[in-house]
Symmetry: C2
């Protein structure tokens, strides 16, 4: 087999960034940086670590994260987005911060602490397609997580990805309770399952 040997491993690759980050920075540079830093420190980084993820690198508001398990990666993203939605609901509009998340599965090339390859490019592309507050995953991820999480996956069809010949099948992932028409008691219950629910703003009627 003639391929030059490189070190590879299968990984779930998560790419996230902040919606309209440039606009937020333009309006309030110090405040935006401060809020992002606080979110990372008290929510995002600890949860990624708890789910076995590793932050490969940050690029301004962007995050590249590698998980050993696709199931854990999707669970992690859905949990964080659910907490973000709750927090944003209690904030004035100009204080809100929303994330886009894309997750792909790839046999990535390892170089020291960095990862490369198509698998990373596709994750970034999924993130670019994702709506604010959402989680988009590739067909490869869907194949590994379907039936293993309490989540719905809406098939958004095949999307062409720059520099890749084959199109990528895209799914929108949602926590089941969010995706049901039934509003709310179940969604509240889902939030109680997250790790630091006691640090969340009150979710009761008062």
């Amino acid at each position: 087999m003639a391929e030059e040997r490189v070190q590879r491993r299968l990984a779930a690759i998560l790419v996230a960034d902040v919606v309209a980050y440039s606009r937020l920075m333009e309006k309030d540079e110090a405040g935006t940086l401060e809020r992002l830093k606080a979110l990372r420190a008290d929510l995002i980084d600890p949860r990624i670590a708890a789910d076995g993820g590793r932050i490969v690198k940050t690029m301004g508001d962007g995050l590249l994260v590698e998980f050993p398990s696709a199931v854990d990666a999707v669970r992690n993203a859905l949990d964080i987005q659910a907490v973000m939605a709750r927090r944003n609901a209690d904030l004035a509009e100009d204080r809100r911060m929303e994330f886009r998340v894309g997750i792909n599965l790839g046999d990535v090339i390892i170089e020291g602490d960095d990862i490369h390859g198509d698998g990373v490019n596709v994750a970034a592309r999924l993130e670019g397609l994702c709506e604010p507050g959402g989680v988009y995953v590739s067909g490869s991820v869907f194949d590994q997580v379907a039936g293993k999480l309490d989540a719905w996956f809406d098939d958004l069809g095949e999307q062409t990805v720059k520099n890749l010949a084959r199109p990528v099948r895209v799914f929108r992932a949602q926590i089941k309770s969010e995706a049901t028409a039934d509003p709310n008691p179940v969604a509240e219950a889902a939030l109680l399952l997250v790790g630091d629910a006691d640090q969340l703003p009150s979710v009761g009627p008062g």
Copy 2:
């Protein structure tokens, strides 16, 4: 997310066994065991280790192996099958031993040194479908290795797998030089790329 937490990781899962092992054992129990043991010791186990694989367990003539990379798993299987084909060509028919190999990609459940889950079942099923001396891989593996190895993949279509609702797409993997109509010089060259080519039986015309 309500799934009970288990430890998971993405892995390429390889299942192999010996074709007509019961018949071989019936004819020559001690000799068959001896030949399998020798093949494991001087070919199979060292190559699996060299490609980053881990032998999870053996079941008589069966092997369950986990690789961190799907690319490395397929390369490993094709290399071993190529060496086996050369060795068998130089042996009397009743001394030959052939393997079937199935490779799948799965977000497997880890329990100590063992692995479980659909991903393992599908690998075993692919192995059962495989022809002697061949390597069958799932669509999930194909998606990760296509274009990353000097190999051809024949699409064998979707196969129903016992206890799984969704059918599995099956591909036959072959080293490119084997798959071409052009007989031999290239196949010989490919063999020279394997690790211990100097220990192989002579491949020259004499």
